[in-house]
Amino acid sequence: MKEKYINEVLSFLEADRKTKKRVKEDLNEIIEFKTDDTYETLLKRHGDPESMAKDFMENLDIPDEYYGITIGLSRRKRSFEYKSKRKIMGIPLLHVNMGGRYKNKVAKGIVAIGDISFGIISIGGISVGLISLGGISAGLLAIGGVSAGLLSIGVISVGFMAIGIISKSVYYALHLFSSLNI
């Protein structure tokens, strides 16, 4: 329960990794959890996780406004990250990293799913991978709104073989509007 509460706070906290680690360590120390306590007890004692995160951000001088561009699979207030413990050549088998109010979360893994993603199989707002699926996508097989790859499928696609509404290819292009075959 205590861990769940702390993770909830961290998911709302838009801070760098070092600060998040510091906050996690301190919340772990200060939040007492007795055996008969429930999640509701924690809410009563410490307030809801979003308010606590907001309090931290306000006092850490992290601005509540954001004027940057968010490229994302998710624009939820809460961020989500999962990194599998299993690794291949030091790279996580699965890394999911997305959401949060600000910034673009980057996922790097054999299978990567994120606002920006890099992986063998990659799914993201901006995605780069052998098999890549994204808003903007690049890879051997790239599928996306704008895609570039050996085999590229997209609204706008560029590749050795390209299929799209507007496409440009070296070898073969299947398109709707314009013939840009070289």
């Binding site: 510091r22 360590e25 301190d26 919340l27 410490h46 306000e58």
Partner: protein, 118 residues
């Protein structure tokens, strides 16, 4: 206006925390309790307010943290904060500035009562 209030609150709380740590080394929960008690409930801080203050003071090297095991009843160590020599030096300077500034400000705010400049 909200920004000015925030800055005043932050500055004053940093002074209050340094003052508490001058007395004795302490940890988060106790600092919160003492601030509340000594201020007659005015400084009723939550974790999200206290820890950023501690981070700033620690990053400025005015305080240091260390882990200490309390007793057999609580196996988990506590993170204690202690004021550094640099912190002590800065605290006395800030306190001097604070008294000087509040003295001047009080004179401005009380000028009508004292019949000055009206």
């Amino acid at each position: 206006m909200a920004d000015i209030r925030k800055q005043i609150k932050k500055g004053l709380l940093e002074i209050a925390v340094l003052d508490l740590l001058l007395e004795d080394d302490s940890y988060g929960y106790v600092i919160i309790q003492k601030l509340k008690e000594y201020s007659d409930g005015i400084f009723d801080l939550k974790e999200g307010t206290l820890y950023p203050i501690l981070y700033r003071l620690e990053d400025s090297k005015y305080i240091e943290s260390y882990w200490k095991t309390m007793n057999e009843l609580r196996s988990k160590p506590r993170k204690y904060y202690k004021i550094t020599n640099e912190g002590r030096k800065v605290f006395s300077e800030i306190l001097e500035d604070y008294n000087f500034i509040t003295g001047g400000l009080n004179s401005i705010l009380n000028r009508r009562k004292e019949g000055k400049g009206v």
